[in-house]
Symmetry: C2
């Protein structure tokens, strides 16, 4: 009752929810640092816009003209360069539906965001996974993996689950060498957390036809369960993505909230400041504890542990702290941990300090 | 920059929006009877639930256990029989992704809901379209169209765009004859509008493994732009559909609103009463005007016009009334018109009466 390709799909495993852990462990206070959610909550301007939800009985204009124009303008792009998605993960799927079929190949880094592989395999394409180097995309090796059959090359920047970003020089050299016929999909779900002076991937869209750049409002705008993502591509490619996109894939609440959030520079600034402070605190703790984390440009980090990631994950879970085990993310020996509020970060640092002697003894 | 199959896709053409027609025609008062929206608005209990939107920064539990259990219970089914969708149209797409690949065939009626063909073609499948008889699915001919390659058979009941429903006897005979290996997808977006004593398609799921029944909250609950649909299937098939489904495909607003709407029997009853009254009024007008409409079990009807559907559509549009031209829906010589509020129906009836002499003269 499913086609052969579907039977090969590994299920997507999300981070545990707070309710689930409360139920199973009987703990009252749970700290969730597993899904890279914004510890400050949601953009107040998005929430204010959502207080005026109405006309839910009417379909939206499926062209979403104003919203697309507003998203495009800061990059010198136009509405016709924009495709909207139910989160950027829907756009990953739409890109694969548009570009890949049986016999095609897609190149991605490993570990990277697991949905790329799921969406490409669903299309019957072969996925070539190129190991990271020190937690960073190995662009040279990825270019070497490109064959005549390669249709799509995924770059996750900053990379999930390592948090690392590509240096601007690496970008330029890569773009000069990747064949024009290969679509480069740059997933920037964590773009806003990157430092100033970062290479602006959205600019590539004006210069290189065969590029898709994805963004989301799930993270820095704190709208994970509102579901709104967007992508930039040149007009022709954006046109195909919009053709494949299901009609009405943007709900009215998502459109309303997204329009509100776009005005909320203050909340973005606060979120970035909170993230920077949390990062500085945690990286100091990590150093003090003698652990190692890849340099992150996101709102999470991948930290080494001296036991198996699963053991470390379970010990933290027993203390009411949910993180992600690297064993489930192709990153053995590491945990992926969200940068939380000061209280959450301090509780995590305490737990790590308390657990570390037993972990070292077990190692 | 897209795979060959995608280049064959016809774009989905939604009904015109009120704003679009206001802008183009410069008319202030627009009556939209084009998208089968609920003239009473949205379920007040859904709207009340949506006043409490919070925690949008947190992802939902992607298993949606309570909501699935509640949807399943009235039919003696369980959460494991349920798959949730961003509208039932996403579930049509998920079903095609799960079941179809190049070389497969899907059988559907024509005219029927256009998305079936789009979603099946996107999978590389061939679509066999079997003409309706008097606006009703020709189940005998559809069964004859089934070959060794047939994986999926679509039944739209009530059928969009004709509004007709299958008689219970036809259902029973059909189910006895359709091969077990063929998945039957019953799309019941307009289920709630059907009369009492209707054959309960959801019951088939308990008896026939290879069946999917789709529902939506877009219509009778008035939540078209909230985007919430759901499907029933046996546990194994529902498992595959859930495997293919993108994680987090249900937004928190949609989950909240859907849970609220499920309690709103009063709004459903009012919507059904309004629809019945509007239907009685319009069918009387249609008879008086000497036109013909298929018997409808939905909140719209397919009415004949004595000129081309496009001409009739444009003449109504010029008077600020948006309907759907049958020429765009595979139903030449007819219009698809939503049953609106009493004022909207009366305005439409007036317009038809005024336009009819010129249409007859032109015929």
């Amino acid at each position: 009752m499913s086609r052969p390709t579907v039977r090969k799909l590994a299920p997507y495993v999300p981070g545990k929810t707070i309710e689930e852990v409360q139920r199973v462990l009987g703990l009252e206070r749970i700290i969730k640092l597993a899904s890279n959610e914004n510890p400050l909550g949601s953009s107040p301007k998005a929430m204010a816009a959502l207080r005026h939800i109405d006309r839910l009985h009417l379909y939206l204009d499926d062209a979403y003209p104003e919203l697309r124009e507003r998203l495009a303008a800061p990059y010198g792009l136009h509405a016709s360069n924009v495709v909207l998605g139910h989160g950027s993960n829907e756009l990953v799927n739409i890109a694969c539906e548009t570009l890949l079929e049986a016999g095609d190949e897609a190149v991605m880094a490993t570990p990277s965001f697991s949905l790329y592989k799921l969406a490409a395999v669903l299309q019957g394409a072969a996925v070539i996974e190129v190991p990271l180097r020190e937690g960073v995309h190995d662009l040279d090796a990825m270019l070497e993996a490109v064959t005549e059959r390669t249709k799509l090359l995924f770059i996750c920047d900053p990379n999930n689950p390592t948090g690392t970003a590509l240096p601007p020089d690496a970008w330029r050299s890569f773009l000069a060498r990747v064949p024009e016929r290969v679509t480069v999909l740059v997933d920037q779900a964590y773009r806003e957390y990157m430092g100033a002076g970062t290479f602006e991937a959205a600019d590539i869209v004006r210069e290189r036809q065969n590029t898709i750049v994805l963004r989301t409002m799930s993270k820095v705008y704190g709208l994970a369960s509102l579901r709104f993502g967007y992508g930039f591509a040149d007009v022709e490619l954006a046109g195909w993505l919009n053709r494949v996109r299901l009609p009405f894939n943007i709900s009215r609440p998502a459109a309303l909230g997204a329009a509100g959030a776009l005005d909320d520079e203050e909340f973005v600034a606060m979120s970035l400041a909170s993230n920077l402070a949390g990062k500085a605190f945690m990286y100091k703790q990590i150093e003090t504890l003698g652990l190692q984390a890849y340099p992150t440009e996101a709102n999470f980090y991948a930290v080494s542990v001296p036991v198996s990631a699963t053991r470390a994950y379970e010990d933290l879970l027993a203390r009411g702290i949910i993180v992600r085990s690297g064993d489930a993310l192709g990153m053995p020996g590491r945990l992926r941990i969200t940068i939380g509020s000061p209280e959450e970060n301090a509780a995590l640092a305490d737990a790590l300090e308390q657990l570390l002697p037993a972990w070292k003894a077990a190692a």
